[in-house]
């Protein structure tokens, strides 16, 4: 039913463009308003808080200072928490891609009539909350947990190995949460890649690894990037798993923000830590996205 612009006069064409614009504004408006009020405004307030001063006993004193940011970058304790968060996020993302890639490929290519059931199995870990899932890991990884009991029963270890309250436990715990997201993202990308291009690669003499490296991976790269970014952001901001499985001596940025607000009532510094976490996540995500886009174009 649309009328081409060429057939209309200049005025009518402008009117049509205006109508489209107002329709677009009407469609985008509510979401924009929601994001502005629900996200951008609190972020602006948070940034303003981060420039306030903290006076013990008075919670927050109006000021315009960058001392909270200076404190963060000059205190080794906070820098260590930041680098630890980056490291855990990097490792979890890498592992999620390595483990998720073949699983997603198998799910995408399977002809099984149980395909939907298999997808549901992948998503199953997301059916329980973070705390419940962590409780499960605790019973598995504890000193008297299943893993230690099994190792001792098999005669592999004599004393229990400390799995709980370690970086290892946190990585395993977060990986279990994030893996389904990565698998589902990759699976949808693989579904969109024509099987014929793989067959073409094989017919031209490529082995499975060469096919993956030269054909599948470049085609799936945008999806791989999306899954990786998703996983990275979730890990950077993880709270429950680091607290429950990392224990009191393992600090990541999410719990650090909470401690500043809740245990120390230091809102300005808590706001600064939040802002640093958010900025770092955004910058790294944007950088990764740009890198992939450039590679994808070439």
């Amino acid at each position: 039913m649309s009328v081409s612009v060429e057939r209309l006069g200049p005025l009518a064409a402008r009117e049509q463009r205006g109508g489209r614009r107002s329709t677009a504004a009407l469609l985008v408006g509510p979401a924009t308003l929601f994001v502005t009020i629900g996200l951008l405004l609190p972020i602006a307030i948070l940034f303003r808080y981060s420039l306030n001063a903290f006076v013990p006993g008075k919670l927050m004193v109006e000021a315009l200072t960058i001392e909270n940011y200076v404190l963060f970058v000059t205190d080794p304790y906070y820098v260590a928490a930041f680098t630890r968060t980056l490291r855990v996020a990097g490792i979890v993302t890498l592992l999620a891609l390595v483990l998720g890639f073949p699983l997603a490929y198998a799910l995408a290519r399977t002809q099984s009539r149980f395909k939907n059931l298999l997808v549901m199995l992948v998503v199953l870990p997301l059916f329980v909350g973070n705390a419940v899932r962590a409780a499960g890991w605790m019973t598995l990884l504890g000193n008297r947990g299943f893993l230690n009991v099994a190792l001792q029963w098999a005669g592999i270890t004599a004393e229990p190995i400390r799995f709980m309250y370690t970086e290892f436990a946190v990585i395993v715990g977060i990986l279990a949460v994030n893996l389904p997201y990565v698998v589902l993202t990759l699976q949808s990308v693989f579904e969109g890649i024509d099987r014929a291009v793989e067959d073409a690669a094989f017919s031209l003499g490529a082995g499975p690894l060469t096919m993956v490296r030269r054909v599948l991976l470049p085609l799936a790269l945008p999806g791989v990037a999306a899954g990786a970014i998703f996983c990275f952001i979730l890990t950077m901001n993880a709270y429950a798993t680091p607290v429950l499985l990392g224990g009191p001596q393992f600090t990541m940025m999410g719990p650090l923000v909470y401690v500043q607000f809740a245990a120390k009532s230091n809102w300005p510094f808590g706001a600064a830590v939040s802002f640093i976490l958010m900025t770092a996540t955004l910058v790294l995500t944007a950088a990764a996205n740009l890198l992939v886009q450039r590679r994808y174009r070439t």
Partner: protein, 356 residues
Amino acid sequence: MTDQRTPKVSRRQVLAGAAAVAGASALGLGPAHGQASKRIVLSTWGGDYAKLLTRHISNPVLGPRGWEVVNDEAQVVQRKAKVVAEKRLPKGSSDVQALTATDIAELTQVDVLEKLDHGKLKNAKNLMKIFSIADSPHFSPHIFSGKVVLYNPKLIPTAPKGIDALWDPKNQGKVGVVDIQHVYTTMAAALVAGGKTGDFDKAKKALLDLKKLKPRIYPSNEALAQALQTEEVGLCIMWKARAVQWQNAGANVLTVAPKEGIITYVSGFGIPKNAPNRDGAYAFLDAAMEASAQEGFAVDMGYNPVVGNAKVAPELKKRIGFGPEEEKLFVNPDLAFLATHAAEVKDFWDKEFKAA
């Protein structure tokens, strides 16, 4: 006749009236909250504590007097933040805040709590001397327990005499510490070092000495309980009320009143300065000190009454309470110190004591 029963009201009059009511409510001018309805908004922790408040105070004591208590349940951190955020409002959203003594110290500093009028609390005359409101005029105590030394006789055959047992090298590897109890552990360290609860410098030195013995640090009381159950550790400091709960659950643990002093844990109530229903708030605070309510909490929760006229069965008293000699050991937290140094204590705990 008909006209008298159903006076004619125009559509415009109805709309104007509705707008006036809505406007008055929005401006907080109406009698919607508090006074007229005799409604008290109690801001408290949820779970068993909230249920027991309803069971022993709101329903049996305040109900017959015509008060209706509405619970607003949340963690104390959120509730404190809300009270502070509402500071500038003429009317806040709560009449009573359930808090611990250490929370009170923090809120007193930011000047959001009402200085209590003793004349409005007839039951305050029954308060045990150590919990006198006069010492902390913004806080009305409710229940208490004390920090005792808890040990597993299988792992620690000789009963410890004090908190300093945690610092004894022969107990190395058997000591557990709870992360969320960092304030009380710091105060206990100050006592071990021969100081008072607010002697932070002495506490710091003692904590660094304890760190050398590599105590196991657990995130919560529950995690410590599990470690005691599995005999991963066998010595710690803990609230006596908790010890009783764990004993009931079958843990092989005993308690000792430490010679250095029993640091009290007091839970109670404060009234925000902008409480909409101040009379109701005072009625609640007074009802919480009724002997019957206090006795109910002793039976159902294992915490001790703060009033002398509450009667606790001798057998229960023996398990949860403290004898006359032990009562002499009671030490209250230094609230003035905590109000201004809580963040510093937490910083030291995180960066020095817990750091690898």
